[in-house]
Amino acid sequence: MTESMEVKKKISSNISRIASEGAGYVDARYYLDDSSETLLLYDGDLEANDTTVESGIGVRVLWEGAWGFAATSDPSCLDACFEKAAMNARTASRLVKVPLSMGAGEAVKGSYATPVEVDPFSVSLQDKLTFLTRLDNDLKEDFILKRMVYVNFQRKKVHFQNSEGSEINKDLVNVFGMIMAMALDSDGEMQRRSMSLYSTGDGTAGWEMVTNPELFSGHAARVRSELAELIKAEPLEYGKRSVILLPGQGHLQVHETIGHPLELDRILGYELSYAGGSFVDLDSFGKLRYGSDKLSVSSYGSIANSPGSFGFDDDGTPERAYRLIDRGILVNALTSRAMVNEANEKAGREVFQQSGGAARATSFYKAPIDRMTNINILPGNDGTEDDIIASTEDGIVVDNPVSWSIGSNREHFHFGCEIAWEVKNGEKTRVLRNPTYQGHTLEFYGSLSAVGDESTWKVELVNNCGKGEPNQVMQIGHGVPVVKFDDVITGERK
């Protein structure tokens, strides 16, 4: 028997043992491999050439309505780890006013593997560096002072078991990439222009994304030329105008002001001491007008090659594509089993029919919490980016975040972007620098006046969503078209 088979067997017997002692639910996630490789060329110098390899087991025990969790990186300490998790749960159960429940669950058996053509970990470091150095060379130009080429590859091999007889194996691969160039503007202040690897929603998610010119490697010339315009540009003046978000910015708008406020644990008050709450409450579902009729938002969205697609969540729930917002009306949330049960109990009605499969943990040593998957604005009927610009009297087109700051209940926000293009009477006139815009979430989505068609839709990948205590960083996808909002406050008051 191999070591991993032995560990899996020991996990089974420990789960049975703890369950037979009276636990309401027990699960374990065994990370056989959790590897991450980061390469960073900064002005051509290889400043990061790092690989992290982790392995271990995380155990969750529900005892009289309270969670205990423990993790170990040493498989020889497995029995003690189960014991610790059970003991933690028993201690937690001493202070329970609102008991948590996983409800009745069926055994789920299955496996999921991210579709990959070329495993990024199978490509030699030399080949990777040759490719990235060529990309760095593409960014060079006399006026450019700083250049960055960044990639990050992740591989997670996870075995899941729970006390309901579920057994799931996942083999996940994520690929992230970013290029950036910086130069001084006419005031001697540094401006930047960047581009991050994205997905079209179809296809595979391996090294081939990095070498695909459309998705990543073919954008250096555009980045250079937009930066050249940016450093000669005037700053954006304060005022109300239309704001057209390209997916490079729109995905973060969705992430911060639709994704986070719709996490059910946040809505129920479990994140107040760190991430914050939500302006949404249980009465909002089925009633709240979140945005104009043009706003429809989905979770998962059957996207093949995104870090927000992972087959089964960490409760063992299979991934499920569903709507969060339907033609402007809020209809669902990002949910896990225990949170759905608590919400329905609290509301005294069935607000949520089933778990949305959004329980996710970032590593073996963190417990799952409610997370985004792929949170997407569905494409609309307002044509191409050019069509949307043509229909705009006074506005700006903005791309890529520099800064984001959101109210604690996600009720208001302030974003800074890398670049803006002024739009006057249906035409892009000039580039403007230091663009910012701010708003109040419901008013802002209520002013959504144009949603681009399929041709404008891209899946942007997020590698750094922070949430939870202990803090966890999660990987997420956002499919978004070009979107336009009217009467938005832009720039800063003098």
């Binding site: 002005d43 110098d45 290889l46 400043e47 050439n49 790092d50 690989t51 992290t52 390899v53 982790e54 392995s55 969670w67 969790f69 423990a70 993790a71 990186s73 040493d74 020889s76 933690n88 749960a89 201690t91 937690a92 001493r94 202070l95 006013k97 609102v98 008991p99 948590l100 030699s124 700083k146 001697g188 202040e189 540094m190 644990d265 008050g269 479990y270 107040l272 001491s273 760190y274 914050g276 709450g277 302006f279 040593y365 417990a367 520099v402 800064s403 700051s405 959101i406 109210g407 604690s408 209940n409 009720e411 208001h412 302030h414 800074g416 701010q438 922070g466 205590e469 803090n471 008051r493």
Partner: protein
């Protein structure tokens, strides 16, 4: 203390590498972390982690590579395997255009002056009981949430430059409780920090929150219209502003690369108000004291701002190598930033008694930097924020956004508290790396820009 067997194995691998003329750094990090979360007046998670991480970095001339391992380390073969992986990565790396500065443990240091056995092995039941008492005494009609992180961490570093060793062992904790009114939706919070179990007391939290509860219960929220205000920033808000100002202004890399708000200044220039002095002081016990950085360099008192004057830039090893400067001991996740206290009354309300209408913003939520070159930050008020008139708290204020520059906010400070407060700035994203700052318990700043506000808390 560090497992003797692991220590022996690491020294063996170091000796072998040194004999072969390889330049390398070995860093071991061991944490035992505990965290209890509270949600809806219950313990929502009670979690323990016991993790060992080993980082090995190899430098081969101008080429570098590193390997990090989190898993069981029981034998020399495992460590040698990690070493070989890092060595191979360095061999295959592309060379830099400058000479990296070799890591070197300058002197052997073995420090554990901030280690408390009682906190390292705290019974989680004590935490549950403390929350129970707080909930019962402040009233079960409110909704309580929070978290209490505690634990121990140990760092051990060896370099092939010599056989010196540095070892740090410490404990730390951060307690937070949030009290929310379920209908009115206002939220109050209280934090406690320290490295000893005895640093915590239920009484401190009860006292701090009791007073505010009546203000919030008896008065409606106040909507702050955009404009310029005199603002009392509490210790938590001030520590965020100072940390961000130092990070975006006084890091060597940001300045060398003209990205920082100080890019157009040089050491010796006045950049903040004359009453502002800031130092990185690893000997200050209100911070978590690390006597060395992760490259093995000794950390000493390091002036950053003196009487508003720009004193020094913090250079990490890579930046120093690239720009021909000396590293300053700032390859650390745990700096000890200390802002000097002033002469203000211990009670901020006394300090503003003659100032008319003042906003008291104790903490800033989700601060970010929309314009680094101009040093502009933005963030919103949240917990415990109140309107003060003639030194008296009048009403709570709704969520209000501050968007202003470091130079304006720290250039127009009228009062600085005479009391220093320790603010825990740790996060638990990666490995346990406790960080705390010491700042005055408040400052009063004039002409602060409020740029937006909600009509809810």
């Amino acid at each position: 203390m560090l497992d003797a067997n692991i220590r022996k194995i690491l020294m063996q691998v170091r000796d072998k590498a040194a004999d072969e003329g390889i330049q390398a750094t070995l860093k071991l990090h061991h944490e035992k972390s505990h965290l209890m979360r509270i949600g809806n007046n219950s313990v929502s998670l009670n979690t323990s982690e016991n993790l060992v991480r080993l980082d090995i970095e190899v430098t081969d001339g101008r080429k570098q590579g590193s390997q990090t391992y989190l898993g069981a380390i029981n034998d020399a073969d495992t460590v040698q395997g990690i070493f070989d992986a890092a060595r191979e990565k360095a061999r295959m790396a592309s060379p830099k255009t400058y000479d990296p500065i070799p890591d070197k443990v300058e002197v052997t240091i073995n420090e554990d002056s901030q280690f408390d056995h009682e906190l390292a092995d705290i019974d989680p039941g004590i935490k549950a009981e403390a929350y129970r008492e707080i909930i019962e005494r402040l009233g079960e009609k409110y909704n309580y949430s929070g978290s209490w992180s505690s634990g121990s961490m140990e760092v051990y570093i060896l370099t092939t430059a010599n056989r010196n060793e540095v070892c740090h062992r410490g404990t730390d904790q951060l307690f937070t409780v949030v009290l929310k009114h379920t209908q009115a939706k206002w939220e109050l919070t209280h934090n406690q920090t320290g490295w000893r179990a005895s640093d915590f007391s239920v009484e401190k939290t009860i006292n701090a929150l009791s007073e505010l509860i009546s203000v919030y219960e008896e008065n409606d929220g106040f909507k702050v219209e955009p404009g310029e205000y005199t603002v009392i920033f509490g210790a938590s808000a001030l520590s965020e502003i100072i940390a961000m100002a130092m990070y975006t202004g006084l890091s060597g890399r940001g300045w060398e690369e003209k990205q920082s708000w100080t890019a157009k200044f040089k050491p010796g220039d006045k950049i903040l108000g004359e009453n502002i002095s800031v130092v990185d002081d690893p000997t200050n016990p209100k911070t978590f004291m690390f006597g060395f950085d992760m490259c093995g360099r000794k950390r000493d008192i390091f002036p950053l701002i003196a009487d508003g004057e720009f004193m020094n830039l913090m250079y990490d090893s890579a930046t120093a190598g690239k720009y021909g400067k000396k590293p300053t001991g700032h390859d650390t996740e745990s700096p000890s930033i200390v802002m000097d206290t002033g002469f203000g009354h211990a009670d901020p309300l006394e300090a503003v008694i003659d100032m008319g209408r003042v906003l008291y913003i104790p903490a800033i939520h989700y601060m970010n930097i929309p314009n680094r070159s101009k040093g502009i930050f933005t963030g919103s008020s949240r917990f415990n924020a109140v309107l003060v008139e003639d030194g008296k708290i009048v009403s709570p204020i709704f969520s209000s956004r501050v968007t202003d520059s470091f130079q304006n906010v720290l250039g127009n400070v009228k009062v600085i508290s005479s009391v220093a407060e320790s603010v825990n700035e740790s996060n638990t994203y990666g490995r346990r790396a406790p960080v705390a700052m010491s700042v005055p318990s408040y400052i009063v700043s004039e002409g602060v820009k409020i740029t937006d506000s909600a009509d809810s808390f």
